[in-house]
Symmetry: C2
Subunit: 422 residues, 2 copies
């Protein structure tokens, strides 16, 4: 049965072409005052308009009264949500000024998460992740990109991707799985990084394709992790295996990641705190979305945010995401990322809304299915207790979300138990 | 009837002397594993210990099973929670790089809130504030200091304080009212700031005392707002009228505010981003609590946080608060302030817990009644969905609070409607 949602003070539609907004387009939201939305029994939006007119055209539809502002469901286009335990000790060590190298030597850092994930079963990983996905939905997120990358060996990488698959089959947010076998060189391959790259290319990628458990492949391209050449090798192989491409690019030090991502036609280049002018130009001339992660820099206490303002002014399409992970960003709120987009990056409020909806959809290759409230799009909607959409990035650190629809199915975050996150 | 709360994985008691913790003491939390708490019918904590022992001593008590970590209810010791509308346009203007002066000239800034408050009735102000207090409690806050200061004329200042009084009589968090008539020079007194100070001293303070509507007096001591001499004049008069003292000190530029606050025996000196070495020494040698407001600097996009690490290392007692207000900090979450304490200020997690409990209690003159889970203290408690208290500042931007007790009365944040904040 169809449903008419009515009573919303504003509907932020983000309607427009089925592609990312770039440059000045990012400030255009298309806000409908006092409108209604028809959700069809297909789980898609059928129409937006005045209640009386929609009612006449859909006489059999159920009517659901809402209060507040409706937005496209938020899309978290960069997370590492499948992990084992929190890394609480690392948090305190970093606060005490202990360096990343010393933390790693003390058994912390990313390899702590790798050891942890390798010891867990698919169902354990799925259970841990389920609570985190609940918290994401409670904060308005309806689609979540989730990366592997804490396995760094065939079986454990597949276990992470299998956990994502299990979670995809049980309702909840729509998940976009990304294979990130080249997240770090595992301890057993420290002496031979090229050998590990060969393992990723020759063993892991064929298995990932065979099992059909990933839509994208990502690589952590960074001096000291994977070089431009190694990254290219992995991504070109991934393309042959039918995967879309993403890239952790120019996060801490410049290495030309943005240029590589655009040259390979990646859907996104992520992080970019150290992007070059040439990288900005390359992004502006491409359809690659720049995915910026302001929570990570905040949580790490770094002052180097990606140059969001310069990117937008150069005509680049940018998205914002949480980077949710146990080391550098245990954060789950896209509205907070919007606040940080304004306060830490110089974006204006409208740009931050586009960055967590339509542009985030493009960053997971879904610009034609979600990120807008428009006929034919998935009925992924987020309702906030507000009179004006500008309240979303304004009231910070507080959850304004009162209701969420995922593929047309209503979820009431208030009724969900708040669970331990791990 | 008494109640035994049992099942908590940890109880963070913060037990110790009835005064602020300073320097190295700030890292000591006193955590009890798998313990129980008895809440007496007086609304006070009666005992903490092992369930079987407490049960034997309190055979008639009701038993309430909880899951997670219990902490002292959080205390927000610096807010401007009584205001009219949100200042959404200012947020966008600041993002566009428009200066504070230009924003003020365009009708924004603090004087926009002053005009707004002057046009509203006590009951309108109370209604607007009620939704905000709900959101504070939902995020674990059980005591809130609330300042006037958007009236800047006798009647409107009293209306704000009356609104706080109305809200105090209807359950909810415990409120600590502060008179901040000297928040800014109102437009009609621009030509004669000393004349306005006289008005505050001769008209407002006597009326505030007569009506019994404030416990503290605060002044915005800052170059270009109120001078050291003007601030001293107001605070000395306030003391004669029986009010405790607080001071907005050295927020943006140094003027010796910390030194003045300690010389006058103020309970707190607040902001302190521009505190001097002499100010730090003065604070270390006094019982004045340094109240730091990291959310404000975050929201304003400033890189200048108060030197929290140096303050603690010098032996100062610090508290963290939201500074909740419609201009520079529309933020309501003390757990997020704890996260910022770690990531932006170099505090360790334990210090941030003390800073929003026992030290925040001292900053509102209540170190002997709240801020600890200890016999005789108010049963103000916050339960979070976690296994380890260190998760509170770690999972950021997400609300872990599942239950709150205020004076022994249970509130379930999940069951509260999320309301428009204004």
């Amino acid at each position: 049965m169809s449903t008419i949602l009515t009573g919303a003070k504003q509907i932020v539609t983000c309607r427009g072409p089925n592609r990312a907004r770039r440059g000045a387009e990012m400030a255009e939201l298309d806000v409908v005052d006092d409108g209604s939305v028809v959700i069809g029994d297909t789980g898609r939006v059928e129409a937006i308009g005045e209640y009386s007119e929609l009612r006449a055209r859909h006489p059999a539809a159920a009517v659901h009264e809402v209060s507040g502002v409706l937005l496209p469901g938020f899309i978290d286009c960069h997370t590492h949500a499948v992990f084992g335990s929190a890394r609480l000790a690392d948090h305190e060590r970093r606060a005490r000024g202990i360096s990343y190298k010393e933390i790693a030597a003390a058994g912390g850092g990313i390899l702590a998460s790798v050891g942890d994930v390798r010891r867990r079963s698919v169902s354990e990983l799925a259970d841990l992740t389920r609570a985190r996905l609940s918290a994401l939905v409670a904060n308005g997120t309806t689609t979540v990109e989730v990366k592997s990358g804490y396995g760094l060996e065939l079986e454990a990488e597949l276990a992470q991707l299998e956990a994502i698959k299990v979670l995809s089959e049980n309702g909840g947010p729509d998940l976009v799985p990304t294979f990130l076998g080249a997240h770090e060189v595992p301890p057993e391959a420290r002496h031979d990084p090229d050998g590990y790259v060969s393992l990723v290319v020759e063993q892991m990628l064929p298995a990932v394709e065979r099992q059909g458990v990933a839509r994208f492949c990502d690589v952590f391209c960074e001096p000291g992790v994977f070089t431009i050449e190694q990254s290219r090798t992995v991504l070109e192989a991934a393309r042959r295996h039918g995967l879309g491409l993403k890239l952790h690019a120019d996060e801490i030090d410049y290495s030309g990641g943005a240029e590589l991502a655009t040259a390979l036609g990646a859907v996104s280049a992520d992080h970019l705190a150290a992007v070059s002018e040439a990288g900005i130009s390359a992004l502006a001339g491409s359809s690659t979305v720049a995915v910026l992660l302001p929570g990570t820099m905040l949580f790490l206490g770094s002052r180097d945010q990606a140059p969001a303002r310069r990117l937008v002014d150069a005509g680049v399409a940018i998205a914002l995401a949480t980077d949710f992970n146990p080391g550098s960003s245990p954060g789950l709120s896209l509205p907070l990322m919007a606040t940080l987009g304004v306060s830490q990056m110089g974006l204006i409020p409208a740009e931050t809304i586009v960055a967590i909806t339509v542009n985030a959809a493009a960053a997971v290759g879904e610009a034609s299915t979600r990120g807008q409230i428009a006929p034919g799009f998935r009925a992924d909607l987020t309702l906030i207790a507000a009179r004006d959409w500008r309240e979303l990035p304004y009231w910070y650190g507080v959850n304004l979300v009162t209701e969420v629809w995922i593929g047309g199915v209503a979820c009431h975050p208030r009724e969900w138990p708040v669970n331990c996150l791990g």
